[in-house]
């Protein structure tokens, strides 16, 4: 085995977070302020997955006060504490960049369909003003 692969494997998390494109997720991120450490949650929709193995990253998009915000997280970063999948969206693309063109009710379309357990239609809507951290 190549030494670079070994080095990368050593740094990978043993249990990498599991998620899919179109999932509504809560990403817990470690934040250091001075000598204090706290956990911030960034929740949104996974719209893209890039790279593979040790270098894999995913992009989470959410709407904050009418403005779209995207963050890219490396999944093996020690700063990422956990990725919690709230619900899955039925999508037909690997990259949901079309979400950038959508506003308001348009953004909820893809979450209409649950993967396994069908949820009641009212709960499916993502509330952009929730979880403002």
């Amino acid at each position: 085995m190549n030494i670079i692969d070994v080095i990368e494997k050593e740094q990978m998390k043993k249990t990498a977070p599991q998620y899919n494109i179109g999932d509504q997720v809560d990403v817990s991120v470690k934040i250091v302020e001075g000598d204090k450490e706290r956990i911030q949650v960034f929740s949104g929709v996974v719209i893209a997955k890039n790279g593979g193995g040790f270098k894999e990253t995913f992009t989470v998009r959410r709407i904050v006060q009418g403005e779209g915000v995207e963050r890219v997280f490396p999944i093996h970063s020690p700063k990422i504490v956990s990725v919690k999948v709230i619900k899955s969206g039925k999508v037909r693309r690997a990259k949901l960049y079309y979400m950038r063109e959508r506003t308001g009710k348009g953004t909820r379309l893809q979450e209409k369909f649950e993967k396994e357990v069908p949820a009641s239609a009212g709960e499916v809507l993502s509330n952009p003003n929730k979880n403002n951290t």
């Binding site: 030494i3 080095i7 990368e8 093996h76 970063s77 020690p78 700063k79």
Partner: protein
Amino acid sequence: MLSGFLGKKIGMTQIYTGDGIIIPVTLIQAGPCSVMQIKTVEKDGYNAVKLGFDDKKRKVANKPEIGAAAKAAAEPKRFIRELTPDKGAEFKLGQSITLDIFNNVKMVDVIGITKGKGYAGVMKRWNFKGGAQTHGSTRHRPPGSIGSNTDPGRVVRGKKMAGHLGCERVTIKNIDIVKIDKDRNLLFVKGAIPGHKGSYLILNKVNVKTIGK
């Protein structure tokens, strides 16, 4: 100890710091090296230590190489360079030198041979702008005028033109050492270094006190 060390470029990857910051690193297989020859003022007119790195198959080595290596009771080496010893440091023939020489060293100068690019035009070799790609222009990549007319009637010496690019000895100074892995003889340095994967490198220690003067 020695002014530097020998190594081989393995390739690039990333590592995380404790704070979760990603640093781009180049992995260098550094040592172990053998002392092949010790030069002294009395005998050779100057002090030097000849280090050898990376064993060569005996089948490939020629007789002088095998003979020189036999003096140090070592295998013939692929990469042999002279380095300056520190004052008062003592070496034995055949002594094996490891990454320990980088204890407390924060930076290195890396000397390597850049990747060969062959015969390259002025845009690639000297970053000329070239001409317009569109608007009816057919002058896409040539250099344009290379001088005046009758006066001076010649091309100025040193004019940047097309020619061979790369395969050149280059020193990159003050590269941060990110991590030292003594078990596997690996040196992690920040950023890129010259050469292709597997190319040999000279790693000169940087005395941090002298930086910024």
